[in-house]
């Protein structure tokens, strides 16, 4: 459990509530950088329960957060200058949105924490501010029934909290809307890059072994061929997990699998012109099939990170995309083998 942000405590009702700072230190930035690269991700947590920020009293606002440190840090940073209480739910170290989808950031846990810390004795008002993206797990009317507290859904982005409070706890249309800008997509790329590593290693091993087949004199030529093939696969991987997400809105068509397919085709054309695809027509065709299948499959997986894809939509596109990806990949491997034998 990380505690570097706790600077003392304040007494309330005979209870010592830990006081947190609104300033992020190098340690916090470093931690969030690492966790974006998938390092220590399962364990980037803070304690649950009640925290104080600034110099809160019984009329101060209560903000609800998750025990994923990235969520918690983003909240306390944006509460600079505000005297308030932070109620951290046990989401097993998962961010608000994902946890709300799973139900761990949910009605039950919120009610439990409110009762657990005796929030009704800490504050005299009956207002708690829950991030809007938590609404997927929280039923405001049930929280009200069970605890007496009114849930006010705050803005989607923690940066808007000050404006939200200033506007009398009202979120404007803009504050309520989830976006998926370049910077937001960019932050997700490192983790996806690391996350798919097993697909990558598998594919690298397969093409390397394939390159050992054939008439070329072993080992010199085959090895060279093998490294070239691995390089191509690596670029195909990047096409799916880096390029497609980065330029997502600018690639035509709505289906992610089609978007990835297009970047994969563009990549194979570039490689063809650089003379990196193969020795003969069969090998060239096989690279087109393989790279487009890989790029398409990985791009399709980015639906999990996107903020606007629906389950029904993803199911629909997978129904046609997955069989085609399998056919393309299988045909690509067969053609590559044939290209090497003949």
């Amino acid at each position: 459990m990380r505690t570097n942000f706790i600077h003392g405590s304040i007494q309330n009702n005979g209870l010592a509530v830990p006081l947190v700072t609104d300033r992020l230190e190098i340690k916090d930035y470093l931690g969030s950088f690492m966790v974006r690269w998938g390092i220590n991700r399962g364990n980037y947590m803070v304690n649950t329960g009640l925290f104080a920020i600034g110099n809160p009293d019984s009329s101060s606002d209560v903000f609800v957060s998750a025990n994923y440190k990235l969520s918690f840090d983003s909240l306390r940073k944006n509460l600079a200058g505000i005297n308030g209480w932070i109620l951290v739910l046990d989401t097993k170290g998962v961010n608000v949105w994902c946890a709300a989808g799973k139900g761990t950031f949910g009605t039950k846990e919120l009610v439990r924490q409110i009762k657990n810390v005796s929030l009704d004795k800490i504050v005299i008002h009956r207002r708690i501010i829950v991030p809007q993206l938590g609404a997927t797990g929280v039923a405001a009317h049930i929280v009200k029934e069970e605890t007496g507290f009114n849930v006010h859904y705050g803005p989607v982005r923690a940066d808007d909290i000050n404006d939200f409070i200033a506007a009398g706890y009202r979120a404007t249309k803009e504050m309520r809307k989830i976006t998926f800008k370049f910077s937001e997509r960019g932050k997700l790329i490192p983790n996806d890059f690391v996350y798919g590593k097993f697909y990558l290693f598998g594919a690298l091993a397969v093409v390397f072994l394939l390159s050992l087949i054939g008439k070329h004199d072993f080992p010199g030529y085959s090895l060279n061929d093998g490294f070239k093939a691995m390089f191509n696969i690596f670029l195909g991987y990047c096409s799916g997990v880096v390029v497609t997400p980065a330029i997502l809105p600018f690639i035509p068509f709505r289906r992610f699998a089609v978007k990835g397919f297009i970047t994969g085709i563009v990549l194979s054309i570039i490689l063809l012109f650089l003379n990196l695809t193969g020795e003969n027509l069969l090998e060239n065709i096989s690279w087109f099939l393989l790279l487009s299948a890989i790029s398409s499959f990985l791009a399709m997986n980015f639906t999990g990170s996107s903020t606007y894809t629906s389950l029904s939509g993803v199911k629909k596109e997978m129904k046609t995309a997955v069989p085609l990806q399998i056919i393309f990949a299988a045909a690509g491997i067969i053609l590559m083998i044939l290209g090497k034998i003949f």
Binding site: S71, K102, A140, L188, R254, G304, T309, S310, L311, M318
Partner: protein, 99 residues
């Protein structure tokens, strides 16, 4: 920047306007401006923007909204099929938008 829209005519969102009491909660929780409140009733104005998160249905006291919610996540659907269960998201992703 233009609005990102996913596939048309796929979502399972249903609103029963006669049950609706016009509380406006769905408008507040929806991150994609799917609803609008007019004449003391909610209306679906941008159906194709819906990502089936389920926030509206969960927060509608009178149960006027139904949606088959879940994470739109290919990896989750694949693992759901492989383990013969509902799609679940491993939630490897850190969402930049969370607060």
């Amino acid at each position: 920047m233009k609005e990102l829209v996913y596939l048309p005519d796929v979502v399972t969102l249903e609103l029963c306007e006669s049950t609706c009491n016009g509380c406006g909660m769905c408008v507040k929780v929806c991150p994609h401006e799917v609803f609008e409140l007019s004449g003391k009733k909610a209306h679906i104005i941008n159906r194709d923007y819906c990502m089936e998160c389920g926030a509206c249905a969960l927060n509608c006291q009178v149960k006027a909204i139904s949606v088959k919610s879940g994470v739109g996540c290919a990896a989750g659907i694949i693992s759901g099929i492989l383990s013969n269960s509902e799609p679940t998201c491993g939630c490897s992703q850190s969402n930049s938008t969370c607060c």
